[in-house]
Every structure is written in C-alpha cells, then in structure tokens.
Symmetry: C2
Subunit: 348 residues, 2 copies
C-alpha cells in the first residue's frame, strides 16, 4: 500500500520538525512493506505575505483527496491569528469534521517532570469543532465607553454525544477511567447540558468508572495527583487548557502530539504537534521533533498500522531513556536531525 | 472603632473555619484597639432544606448595611448549584458590585509544593461579575436529537477597564510585572476585545512590564516556571482556573484566600476561603482554617488595618515554619482549633 499524505509544514519550526517526522514515517513503513506518497503544500504566513492568503481559494478541496494530513505549525509574528489560524488550521479542523482532538500525555524516562512525583499516562479527548470557539458574536458601540463584546458558546447534543462516546470507548481500551471537565456551577446554560449528555452516554459504558470535575479543581488535581487520570474529556476550550497543562506536568509541551480525527473517515484526519511555530528558535535546526514524530505515530495508527505506530513511540522512549540525546528545550545539545537520525535508526 | 461584620458560615467546613477566622480577628483587633460587631446569618443549604431558600427574600438588603462580609463556604450534596451558589454566593458578588476577586498565592516554608522548584509569590486578579458566567443563554429542542444549548459571554469596556486598572495598580505596589490571560487566537470576539482594552489601560502604567499569554500556554508556564509571575489578570473563568491552579502549585488549595472587592466601597466586600464546603471531612473538626484566616487578613487590610493584616499572615507563616502543627490535608494531625489557637497566641 501507498498512502497519499498531504504535508503542510507551515511556519517556523513547523518546517523543521515535519521533514523529521516524514523520515521516521518512511523508515518504519519500508520495514513494514508500505509507503507514503507525499504532496507538499507551502501554505504558511510566508505565502500570506506574498499571495495575501494562507492557502488558495480551493485549498480545502485540494486536501480532500488524501488519506491524511501532516501539519507542522502555523503562525508568525506580525500576522494576525485570524489570518494564520482561521485561514488554515481551524477551517481544516471544521470542514473535515475533525471533531476529536486526541492528545496523549505520558512521562518518559529521561524527561524530567517539574513535579516531584509525576506518573502520568493519560489522554485528553478534546471536542474540536464547536463549543467556546464559535464564530458567533461581535461588538457594539466600538470605541465608545459603552462598548461591549459578546460571544456565543454552542454545544449541540450531536456534538457532545459523539465526543463523549469516543472518549468512553477509548477508556474501555485503557484503564476504564474517565473524567469529564465541566464548570456547570458557574457557566449555567452550556455546561449543565454537557454534563447531562455525558451522563446519558455513560450508560452505554457501564464498565467505565467516570466522574465530572469542575475545571478549576481539575487543573489543581492534575498538578497534585496526575496519576489518577486516564481519559479526560473536555470541551474545545477545556480540552485545550488541559492538554497543555498535562503535557507540562509530564515535562514539556515540545513532545506533545495531537490527532485531529474524523472518526467516520468521511474526510482526512490531521496530525500535528501541540507546540507552535516557535519563531524564537526557528531556523537554527534545534527544534524538538518528538511532538511531530509522535503525531506521525498517531497517523500510522489511524491508517491501520498500529504495530508501526507502537514501534515509533517505543523508539522515542528508548532514545530518551538509553541515550543522552536531547534537544536544547530538554536540556541537551542535540540538533533536530541528530535526534531524528537516532529514531530512524531504531525503527528502520 | 468597631466594625460591623456580616458572617455567613454556610455549609460543611464553612461552619468550622469561620469561627476560627473570627477568633483570630478578635485577638489581633484587641491588641490594636479596634473591634468587631458580628451579625451571624444561618444562610445555607440546611436553611434551604427547611425554608426553601438559601436566604430570605430581603437577604441582600440585610447584608448591605455592614462594613464587610465574612463567608465560609456554600454547597451540600443533593442541593443543586443553581440553588446553593446562584441563590447566595453569586448574587452577593453581583449585587454588591464586587468586580475584583483577589487571590494571593505564595509558598510557605513548611508546606510542600508538588513542584520540585516552586517559588511562587503572585496574585490572581479575577474579573468577578461578567464574562463567561453570564445568565444569558438557554436551550432549544430539549430532549430531541437536535437539542442545543447556547451561552453568551459578555465583556464590557467598563468591566474590562476597571479590572485591568485594578491589576495594573496592584502591580505597581509589587514587582511591576503583569500577565493578562487571553485566548484571543481561538475565542475571536470577546478575547481580542479584552486584549485591546488591557493594552489601552496599560498605557496609564508605563512602569509595569506586561504581556498577554494564551490560557493554555499560561497554565503550562505556571507549572514549568511559576516564579516568573507577579500579578495575573484574567476573566471570570480564566481567573477561576488560574487561582486554583496556582494555589495547587504552592501546595494546597486549603490555604488559599480570596477577597471579593467593591473597590469604590459603595457596597460591602466579601472575604471567603477559595476551598468549598468539603462535605467529606465536615463535622470532624479537622478542616484547615488557613484559607479562612488569611481571608480575614485581607478583610483587615480592606478595612484599613494593614499592620494587623500583615501580623496575621506572618503568624500563619511562623506557625507553619516553626512548628509541626498541620491539619490532616497538609499531612499533620492537628485539629482546626489547635491550629487556630497557635495563630491566636501569636497575634494576641
Ligand atoms: C463555586 C463556584 C461558582 C465558584 C466560582 O467559580 O466562582 C468557585 O469556584 C470560586 O472560585 O469561588
Ligand atoms: C492555535 C490555537 C487556536 C490552537 C487551539 O487552541 O486550538 C492551539 O492552541 C491548539 O491547541 O491546537
């Protein structure tokens, strides 16, 4: 088999970690007898500066016909977020109904956690296309003392049900524990609804032990006792917060991966590291490729190669625990290519 | 002087830590030549169970004529949040225009942080009456597959300006560093507005070094490098999350205090520990009174007794660093009254 992948390296260190992930994909695929046919898209803030848009008008259509999308990072100083993010990343998530944003977090031997006792092995399941990130809202009385801005959070029964089902199902393949992030005591319309729908869906998964925690207390518990969590399901905003927080607790957001999934496979899913374009270190060849490589492992899993996926994650763990190779963000002096070469060697 | 205080112990451990705070207030006041005249209100979930409401219909009016309000905690299993919180706590915050929720966080010698390197001394300034906790919203198609719930977040120029001004002013009395919590890259109507208004108000405080951080990255940084923060200003929701998270990073939410302030003093301000009613440990006399006592210190400051306030906080620090006295939540065996007696002895 040859999988057709759309590759969007994007900006900053996105252009450094994406080729790293591709070389790992090629190496592991060769050994397993499959391959990748890459189509690269230069959609980025640089393209915006010359062409006036992050991607062409028919950009989404050009992506449609791929088995998956590998994305690096988008964003550049001086380019507003509504251009860089809402002109590329967010439309891909939404148009391709990638309603699951899956973010595994674990501690690796050899990566120091900021916590004295961190024993983290969890997955954040984030609702990815509705909720707090809605386009509904605006301002009135702009520039005057009585100016105000409003924004509508929108939760649908369909949207909450499908993310809850996904998370409960995932919990049945893990330690059968699920925590639902809420704040229904303060946000009294949308989050009580979230709670009700999650409780309803829970009935389909009697062997999953679950509870709901308010986001404030939940963030505190993530720091005080991260080992208690297995699957955490949250809205677009709460999932965003929890995935960065849990990744930090495990030691670094430079290693965190993510999968933007359309579980029904009506559209391509997208795989991207959680970190951003990091303009401060871009161009120096020292970006940590682990987030991108781990995201590529999630892509392998999605495309039906769970063994190859496991081998890639095991290779990351092995290089971190058995060698002193580290990029500067983890306290080492390795370059992106040195670290990547060590992974490639293990999976080839 | 005698200050008139309204006291609402509330539910669970609220009824245990509030008298503790009062005995500290009495002791320190006596030494400084002032006093308190307490009026106690039994407003609580217990009252709700017998009378059908947390407080009487004219409850807010009865509070109005006090110099300040001391509150323990509200909430009890089986009583819905819209009764316990929206029938007491939140109406007080809103009716009395307590738009600042001030939450200092610091590490005490003798309280172990979950972090390897925690050096925290910061204040979260939380917008307390608008933002995400709005009453505007509802549902449609209840119980049907096309059901949905919406909720409006509302930021006004007046509301954002006054909380930003308060936070910047506070920063000028501290280390001149301010961080504004945002998520304007994802929540594209309300938070870009928040950012703009904060940037405008910043111009009035040229000696404060400030920046804005997205809430996801900010939560990660709080864990990875908490010492960098001085004043953090955030919306109702972000301030709620950040105050629990930073308190956990400093070792415990059992010690965190809060002041709900009406800075113009048109109405009484309210002082309450950040922790809740903790039904699991209520009635056993082992609740940690530090959050309530520290909140009482903030009340002293607000009523014009900064020296007495400092003495109370210093007494907490001294008992924690010089004695082994700790309530069970901090790993000790002291009761609420034993710990409180040690504080009273120091401030008397
Ligand atoms: C109980 C709840 C509504 C409240 C809030 O979020 O405001 C609490 O968490 C707090 O921080 O005071
Ligand atoms: C860049 C931003 C809009 C994005 C998000 O919040 O979705 C990012 O933080 C992420 O987590 O993928």
């Amino acid at each position: 088999t040859t999988h057709r992948l759309a590759v969007i390296p994007g900006d900053g260190i996105g252009t450094e970690v994406t080729p790293a992930a591709q070389s790992v994909l090629d190496a592991v695929a060769a050994r397993h007898g499959f391959g990748f046919d890459y189509r690269e898209f230069d959609w980025s803030c640089e393209r915006y500066r010359t062409e006036g848009a992050m991607m062409p008008a028919d950009g989404l259509d050009r992506l449609r016909d791929h088995d998956a999308i590998l994305l690096g990072a988008v964003g550049s100083p001086g380019v507003p977020d509504h251009v860089s993010l809402w002109g590329l990343l967010i439309p891909i998530r939404r148009t391709f109904r990638q309603y699951v944003n899956l973010r595994p977090v674990r501690c690796f031997d050899g990566v120091e956690s900021p916590l004295r006792n961190a024993d983290v092995d969890l997955v954040v399941v984030r609702e990815n296309i509705e909720g707090e990130y809605s386009q509904i809202g605006g301002r009135i009385n702009s520039g005057f003392p009585d100016e105000m801005a409003v924004q509508e959070t929108v939760f649908t029964r369909v949207g909450v049900s499908r993310i809850a089902d996904y998370a409960f199902r995932l919990a049945t393949t893990r330690r059968h524990r699920l925590t639902s992030a809420t704040k229904s005591n303060g946000i009294v319309h949308t989050l009580p609804f979230w709670d009700e729908v999650v409780a309803e869906r829970a009935q389909g998964f009697p062997d999953v032990d679950w509870d709901a925690e308010h986001i404030d207390a939940l963030c505190a518990k993530v720091v005080l006792d991260p080992g208690r969590f297995d699957v955490i399901v949250g809205s677009n905003l709460f999932g965003d917060i929890l995935s960065d927080l849990t990744a930090a607790v495990a030691g670094s957001i430079g290693i965190a991966p993510s999968a933007n999934l359309n579980p029904e496979r009506d559209f391509p899913s997208m795989f991207e590291p959680v970190h951003g374009s990091a303009p401060d270190i871009a161009g120096r060849g020292v970006a940590n490729p682990i987030g991108a490589i781990w995201s590529a492992a999630m892509l392998l899993d999605h495309l039906g190669h769970p063994e190859a996926a496991t081998e890639v994650v095991d290779a990351i763990a092995a290089v971190l625990s058995e060698t002193p190779l580290r990029t500067p963000d983890l306290g080492g002096t390795a370059t992106t290519s040195e670290f990547t070469a060590a992974i490639v060697k293990r999976v080839a």
